[in-house]
Symmetry: C2
Subunit: 463 residues, 2 copies
């Protein structure tokens, strides 16, 4: 379809001001946070309300135009890279928090609400929305639901999936489909909201989302445990979980990451340490005291050389600032930063760490490893330059080996970053052909023209 025609199609629906077709605009929405080449869409549109959103979906379907919904664009697997010549649908004019219900513990939001803004609003109502993906200050709830976003609190509080009580989405015909609801228990109809979580925009376009809220923990305590060996640190992680303690967060940083973070912002991290654990326990004050004491004992039993316990909010913030610095600090070192998220059962963390060290040596690559050790979701981060073709080949081989290693340890290709375009071809190794076929049949049934974020995760020709 010509540029003129495509503009004519959408302008009457979303209005002149909500259509972008300049090369600059289209370029700006051609890529996301994944290390993948972008693709130029034909048009970028910004519906301002439900009705218009539904009409946009129908227009795309009627005209066979591939549609990619974009929230914060923080996707790490290419899930928001459009199809060449396709339509990018922005949700940043649908940002209303429609309801925060303190009696029934839920929130109803539009898809474009920024995660951290919702969390803050919920907190000001005396409640708690736990999912905290690293990109929460810019990511949107719609994107979080589409990707089943995780975060630091996955271990104790679960991930986005665990908080979606219901949602409304548009099918390709622009009809509004309702699933789930405002009750904790609801078994009316297929669990379509469960299916939509993590479907990466391939099965429908979200209109509203109902999220479960919980009472916040009354107290919290943060600790930094310093280790002289990565093995000891990773064994301490396994021992904490096996000790039936579920910290709110249980994060790890290897020596390379520690040094990089300390270079980035002098925070007094021990640059000679082999590994750090950053731990927060929360709950009733008495439980926090007990758990903190037990965590400390377990860390010492596993050869922690030092434990630093935050004595006030300032020290607590310093610990978590260091953790939040990990990715930006690493990303500054080299032109290309490949943030992996292959995930293993938590007890396999020591084996995974060991494998990562071997892979790093074998391919002579710089890999900084940090992440959510408590739920087995590490982020080995490969620092490289994609323009260096020879090294990039090594990076691709290393990633391939990381995947095989995670799968060999009963783990998964992706804990929280999604499959998107980046990992679609690897999926068959984990789930097998029958599973891909089953998903493809669903995709074909609900999106016969293949217009909903095509080529992401569920492909027509899998395997």
């Amino acid at each position: 379809m010509s540029k003129n025609n495509i503009e004519k199609l959408f302008k009457p629906v979303v209005g002149e001001d909500n259509v972008m077709t300049s090369e600059t605009d289209r370029y700006a929405y051609s890529y996301d946070a994944a290390v993948l080449d972008g693709e130029m869409p034909a048009i970028v549109v910004r519906p301002e309300n439900s009705e218009t959103l539904g009409e946009v979906v129908k227009l795309c379907n009627d005209n066979g135009l591939p549609l990619t919904v974009r929230g914060g664009g923080t996707n790490l697997s290419g899930g928001t890279i459009p199809k060449p010549g396709g339509v990018v649908v922005l949700t940043n004019s649908m940002t209303k928090i429609l309801e925060i219900n303190e009696e029934d513990l839920y929130a109803v939001v539009e898809p474009g609400v920024v995660t951290a803004q919702l969390a803050a609003q919920v907190a000001s109502s005396g409640l708690f929305y736990p999912p905290d993906p690293g990109s929460q200050t810019v990511s949107t709830i719609g994107g979080n639901v589409a990707e089943n976003a995780g975060g630091l609190r996955g271990l104790k509080y679960g991930v986005t999936k665990d908080y979606v009580m219901g949602l409304e989405f548009f099918d390709t015909g622009g009809n509004l489909v309702k699933a789930g609801g405002k009750t904790v228990k609801c078994v009316t109809g297929l669990n379509l909201s469960g299916l939509m979580v993590g479907s990466e925009g391939t099965l429908g376009v979200f209109n509203k989302i109902i999220l479960k809220l919980i009472p916040p923990p009354q107290a919290a305590k943060s600790m930094l445990a310093i280790f002289d060996s990565v093995k000891a640190a990773s064994e301490a992680v396994a021992a904490i979980i096996a000790g039936k303690i579920l910290p709110a967060t249980l994060e790890m940083m290897d020596n390379f990451t520690i040094r990089t973070v300390e270079n980035f912002r002098r925070a007094g991290l021990p640059t000679d340490a082999a590994a750090l654990l950053l731990i927060e326990v929360d709950g009733h004050p008495a439980q926090v005291a007990d758990d903190a004491a037990r965590v400390e004992t377990i860390c010492r039993e596993n050869d922690a050389r030092e434990l630093r316990v935050a004595s006030d909010q300032h020290e607590r913030n310093a610990i978590w600032q260091a953790r939040r610095d990990a990715l930006p600090a690493l990303a500054k070192l080299k032109p290309t930063c490949v943030l992996e998220d292959a995930t293993v059962p938590r007890s396999k963390i020591p084996a995974m760490i060991e494998a990562l060290e071997l892979i790093s040596k074998k391919y002579q690559l710089t890999i900084g490893t940090f992440g959510h050790a408590g739920d087995g979701n590490l982020h080995p981060t490969i620092l490289t330059d994609k323009r260096d073709k020879k090294e990039w080949e090594k990076v691709e081989n290393a990633i391939d080996e990381i995947f095989d290693c995670a799968l060999g340890l009963d783990g998964t290709l992706s804990g929280e970053h999604g499959i998107g375009m980046a990992k679609a071809k690897f999926m068959v190794r984990e789930v097998g052909k029958a599973s891909l076929d089953y998903a493809t049949r669903i995709k074909a049934a609900v999106d016969p023209k293949n217009i909903l974020n095509p080529e992401k995760m569920v492909r027509r020709n899998n395997g």
Copy 2:
């Protein structure tokens, strides 16, 4: 297909001993716990392992034979009533607990494992599997997953859906489909395990299920709060939740139920009370003490005339025995006992209770109301005799009004009993046509011959 031919089809696969075709056997598997007429299957088969199970599914599909999987047969919505002339597949030879992993907090089980047996086994490993449907001593995990079973602990701990990390199921071709896994975080592929939970056997046949386990609470305290008005009791429920306390269980019983239970087993319940709340708080001992004190205060503020706190395990058991007695005691009163489970957001419990009283008066029906007040999931239980056609008509009208009332209060047709055959025709009122159409497209895509538990929940011709 003739009886002879159908026997010949299955005997070589499952073995002579695992095929039942006598009228008595077929009759025994023709009905379930729903107040619905049964349907005679042509054959009942009992596969003894995965391989055979897959072959049975393929055989049914190849021969166009409708297939209904049956666990404990405790279904309250007709979900295990077979199609006339169809195949009942029993899971009671697939009862292995394959793994309880204490380090990584999961269990892997076959579908025929009895819920309470799994819970006991998990407890003996020092862990906790919270979902506790009323039928747990006979219900199976496969059935629980198919129905997304709830239970008393839904309020704090969630329902079956919240514990399914992954599963394997056979598609109609007898291919094994894998979904999810053993990691807390997993976003590889569509969330097919989410879709399968609560799909009532319409989309696949479970082979293995991976369940999340959690550390058990360290302490618990049970209480009985006695009220002179149902309104006061239901307002106390709403006030407890609004007070940001999440009891492990928060149950209610009305006067009719109290008297019936006391008649059934002399337990010292106050037969003159308008309503009882049965409450258990759990967690760290200090939290239990705090929460119990606050619950007591809130109950008194809402005009509880008396609070009895269990001082030992014996008294605690007595409280929960009374709750467990509710259904069997009510069921003894009349030939037919219709156990409803329309569910509302918790703050709407007072309004729902009021509506139930009006409906009971309007149709001059005996309705005992008890259930999971804390999560809005009441069980109004209509005592009647289905053979009395005139009264049965009133019952049907009353049920219709209960549904409308729950939906009017932002609730759902079914909190935990399922849609099955009993409520399929009412679904459109709650989810609308677009949602039914979407589900129907999925069903048709993965089960083109409509052999997987046909006519349950997802119908070919909805609405």
